[in-house]
Amino acid sequence: MTARALEGISVLDLSEYVAGAYCGKLLGEFGAEVIKVENPEGDRARREGPFLNKVPHQETSALFAYLNTNKLGITVDCRKKSGQKILRELVSRADILVENFGPQLRERLGLSLEIMHEWNSRLITVSISYFGETGPYARFRGTPLVAYALGGYMYLTGEPDREPLQGPGPQPEYLGGLHGAIGALASLCSREHTGVGQHVEVPIFEAMVSLHQFTIVRYNYGGIIQKRLGNRYAWTHPITLYACQDGYVAMSASAEDQAQRLMYMIGMESLLEDPRFADGLHRLANADAFDALVEPWFRERSKEEVFHLCQEWRIPCGLVTTAEDLLHDPQYLAREYWVQVEHPATGVVTFPGAPFRMSETPWLAGRAPLLGEHNQMILGERLGYSMPDLVRLRQDGVI
């Protein structure tokens, strides 16, 4: 039996949608017991596709299935008194609780942070929200698009002469979830010294603003407001995407020697003599001219050929991939990155595996729970509700 790093840690995931779910998923994949608490209608991620065979069904949402692996699933309506009683019993037994209700809803559900910490002084609560609970934007409604915009990512993405672009999927929520996991883990460590839990707040807006490499520094230090450049890079060229016969490669010749090798590789070393292309800054200033000269070489070749040839020449170059490409990617296959996840409603589906590997306490594959799948196990066997009572709770819509 392989060791589980977070063995014995119990997590209550009361969150909806992505951020809290990814936090719980990460903790569960390294051995914590994660109980996902949904209202009886189910997490709204269950209603988001794509679905198996494109037919909406609460058990076959790709988003829910991916984000909730390795969790036990129960349903509790926290607005009802009986539901709040169940929550209290679960909270009393939990180490970590993840939620994204916001303070008003928490109050209405009888789940204020003060009360929960009274029920369980060792509890670590993790609240992931878009803006935090204080400040001028505290009551703003957040979505991934809003966070891409306020977090400074959109201004930097897309063509300079047209509207900026969002990223793929709900990245801001994922980043919130990752910070939530870090906060929860750090609090576990603190609790060993203090014997008590604490409250962790992760504002997604702040997470986004903290994840810029140059943007804020260039403004504060140099008064420069960095702006999007399409697929080009602020300080040198060629760092961009080039079209090939059958797709695109991601050229990233950031060092001068790499750019020079590229010129030799494509048989255009004469360009190195051209004053317009003398160094990275010049090539950037004349990027349109430069690209017009080199693009034909790329367009005559397949992306795979270009990718491998560049790497042979020690030129940093990647591929632009689709989901289909990735499932056949030799690097991912050699590393056995993909796992097959079997689920009663979807059958066997390929999922990404471990985001990192630990030699002694390996990552655990698993599947998402059916709605209310573990009601009997947790409410019945653990909390002691009798079968007739569970039926009554079900009839009343509490579970």
Binding site: G49, T134, M154, Q166, L211, S252, T322, L327, F356
Partner: protein, 419 residues
């Protein structure tokens, strides 16, 4: 104050963004991070920088590189608060011996070299665990520690498309696109920080160290997992939605008053839609059949986008955001660097930390976006000068003498020219 990682000593060999960000988070959480810097490496090579280049980069105080630009680069100062710096030359056998002595008194080693490097130095996990059986070591190269691309050169700008992101981004008429930041870097950094915390927790329980193998590309693909799973469920290869959404509408980016000013709006309910109609002075649209419910709005997005743009183009984007949000509509101004730096919400929340630095002066930097109710986090130390802590680490921690240090300097194991 005892912080979560007080007493944890991390030897940080990493460079650029992903590793340094991971160790900055751990340092913010109380770890003692010793940045091991070798002269001539990308992070802090001791080369002069022409003023024209410094001005163009914008990462030197007021564009002035100074005599020691390696101690005045704002990006480096941003990433390396709460850390110490020593200069050890791992290409020298004396330097490697010195590193081994640090490993013996360390808890964590974190590196993001390409996979051959530590092995060629004789400093891979198998070797280091002989010195320190409880060691936690993290390797975080671009493609992975093994596999056919193991020795391939990777930067965030080439990994992001390869991890599957760019194929999911673009305009309706043009693509693919990359995000405007080297996104795999912070994604790997956050996963690495979590991994170290998990390994440390396990070690506190069991005494057992371990090796963490993190491929930056694999960590990145984890954040588009639902697209991969969706492909498996439908057989349809997912592609870009532009600024649209699978089911929310309106959902897009609208031009506002001024030069390159934009507002995003994402409406997820009929209530929000009605509120939007009132705010933009078109209450009759709430009764318009074309927009009666989400499905209908989704099918008439082109019309919606035109209607909304007609309103947004005459209003400042932050004013528009405020009006819409006050009415319960999810709207966000597309902020540039200046706007983020002066944002009223971030200011009131004390999000930016003002940190004085001996060589660069005082500037504001993003803080840690995790608030703990019973911990006071902050910048205990500014980013270190190159080699600033050579004496403290080698003399105080390792017990070497000044003569030892001089010898190590002469043989090239360390770089004595620190400050």
């Amino acid at each position: 104050m005892v912080l979560p990682l007080t007493g944890v000593r991390i030897l940080d060999l990493s460079r650029v963004w992903s590793g340094p960000l991971a160790t900055r988070i751990l340092a913010d959480l109380g770890a003692e991070v010793i940045k091991i810097e070798v002269g001539g490496q990308a992070d802090r090579s001791k080369t002069a920088i022409p003023e024209a280049v410094a001005k163009m980069m914008g990462t030197f105080p007021n564009g002035i590189p100074g005599d020691q630009p390696w101690n005045r680069n704002g990006t480096s100062i941003d990433f390396n608060r709460n850390k110490m710096s020593v200069t050890i030359n791992l290409t020298s056998s004396g330097g490697r011996d010195l590193f081994r002595r640090l490993v013996a008194i360390g808890d964590v080693v974190l590196e993001n070299y390409s996979p051959r490097v530590m092995r060629n130095f004789g400093l891979d996990y198998a070797a280091l665990r002989e010195i320190n059986p409880h060691l936690i070591m993290v390797s975080m190269p671009g493609y992975g520690m093994d596999g056919p691309y193991r020795d391939y050169v990777a930067y965030g700008t080439s990994l992001e498309p390869q991890a599957g992101f760019s194929g999911l981004m673009g305009y309706p008429d043009k693509g693919p696109y990359k995000l405007g930041v080297a996104y795999p870097d912070p994604v790997a950094a956050l996963h690495a920080a979590a991994a170290v915390l998990i390994a440390y927790w396990h070690r506190q329980k069991t005494g057992q160290g371990q090796y963490i193998d993190l491929s930056q590309m694999e960590a990145a693909t984890a954040l588009i997992g639902e697209f991969i799973v969706g492909y498996g469920l439908t057989g349809e290869v997912p592609s870009s939605l532009g600024n649209r959404h699978p089911y929310m509408a309106p959902h897009g980016c609208y031009p506002c008053q001024g030069e390159d000013r934009w507002l995003v709006i994402s409406v997820g309910s009929d209530e929000e839609w009605c509120a939007l109609c009132r705010v933009i002075g078109r209450p009759e649209l709430a009764a318009d059949e074309r927009f009666a419910d989400q499905l209908n709005r989704w099918h008439h997005q082109d019309d919606l986008d035109e209607i909304i743009s007609a309103w947004t183009q005459n209003i400042d984007h932050r004013v528009a955001m405020r009006i819409l949000q006050d009415a319960g509509v999810a709207a966000g101004a597309v902020l540039d660097a200046e706007e983020m730096a002066h944002d009223e919400h971030l200011a009131e929340r004390g999000f930016f930390w003002e940190i004085p630095h001996p060589a660069a002066g005082t500037f504001s930097y993003p803080g840690l976006p995790i608030r703990f109710s019973s911990l006071a986090l902050g910048a205990r130390l500014p980013a270190p000068l190159l080699g600033e802590h050579n004496e403290h680490v080698f003399i105080d921690l390792l017990g070497l003498s000044r003569e030892d240090l001089a010898d190590l300097g002469h043989e090239g194991a360390i770089d004595l020219v620190s400050a």
